[in-house]
Amino acid sequence: MLDPYLKEALIRKLTALADDEVVLAQRLSEWVAHAPILEEDIAIANLAQDELGHAKLYLELRQELDGSDPDQVVFLRDPLDYGNAVLVELPRGDWAFTMVRQYLFDAYEGLWLREAASSRYAPLAEVAARILKEERFHLKHSSLWVERLALGTEESHRRAQEALDLLFPYARQLFRPLEGEEALVEAGFVPDLKALEGPYLEEVGSFLKGVGLRVPEGGYVPKSRREHTEHLWSLLAEMQSVARWDREAKAW
């Protein structure tokens, strides 16, 4: 049986992982019917579905630990308790912003999942291996886009650079451990984020430079998962609106 402190920390971690996916999926789905071309409407809907599917997997792992209902956690939890990274809650911006954000997130996930696939917590290892398969394809998609936008026209290059300037510091937050995460790392349950940051910076740094983008220095990096921007409240208000509208509803 899991030590209670470890269990709490794992629940917190799984929820944060799910929160990232849920909020990112929300931003992606805002593009559906508004993408630059019909084929990309299909692609972005695919990405959003995949991310939601991942959230479901993490929340089902949590459900095994504390019996919580994934829908309750997503749609009825107090917005102030959401632990997503700021990177994913930022408004979708233009296509360059969405693709650069997606790339930065996909690259992080690729590294994290590869390590997590050997987690000593078997259920997580299994889920990570499954998700990793899809993430590899996501990374192909987002990196293809970043390359084409960076190298395309002056305008697309400018938009991509502006997006990167804003987003890059937020990507660093992905490598800040949560409260209690050290114990999980020690137990071999989750990868050590600090050890992943170097390889991440090298991988994305070399890719971005390779397509002519300048990796920004400095910038504000949020210190904890409790830190958010003004955007999160409206995002969650809309996302939870129907579920909250009828609290008596037993099923939707």
Partner: protein, 173 residues
């Protein structure tokens, strides 16, 4: 070619290692690599697949059975011999029949490639495209795993995942 909608690429899908690649439709994309990615998004949503290929739509030579009645239909200027993929539609009756790959033929023109294919098979329509302009996914385990296998796991996309509920059953519940 370059309107507001990007060029068209024909998409060829191979469902399993043993099945014939088939022409399943087309996508609008900016370049071959993009076309392959987009083809995966558009054509491998529910059923899984083994491999995908794309080639610019304008590179396809197409002739119908009716067109073949013209003795000059397959005569055209010859170039260097190269490999062509030839697809044939076998029958008009079954509406789900697409162009199936007949084979790879070495020929000096698409017309010649179709002539070779006709020695092996009947069909109501034929397409020939030079192999050199086809881009496909590599049949490596890693690619199949990340590009195609996940679609198999997405059970919520299958009809059988949702039983049919009648009003009576709802009442009893």
């Amino acid at each position: 070619m370059w309107g507001t909608e990007w060029p068209r690429y024909e998409v060829i899908k191979q469902d399993t290692e043993r099945s014939l690649p088939q022409m399943v439709g087309s996508v609008h994309a900016a370049d071959p690599e993009h076309a392959l990615l987009v083809a995966r998004h558009v054509f491998v949503r529910r059923p899984s697949a083994y491999a995908l290929f794309v080639a610019p739509a304008e590179a396809f030579f197409h002739v119908t059975q009716e067109g073949l009645r013209d003795p000059m239909a397959l005569e055209m200027p010859e170039g260097e011999a190269e490999a062509y993929w030839v697809f044939a539609k076998r029958s008009h009756r079954r509406s789900m029949v697409y162009g199936d790959l007949v084979g790879r033929f070495l020929a000096k023109s698409p017309g010649e490639a179709v002539k070779e294919a006709l020695l092996q098979t009947q069909g109501v329509a034929f397409w020939a495209v030079p192999e050199r302009v086809i881009l496909g996914t590599e049949p490596k385990a890693e690619v199949i795993e990340s590009w195609f296998a996940p679609a198999k796991d997405k059970t919520y996309r299958l009809q059988s995942y949702y039983g049919l509920i009648t009003a009576k059953e709802m009442e009893d519940a």
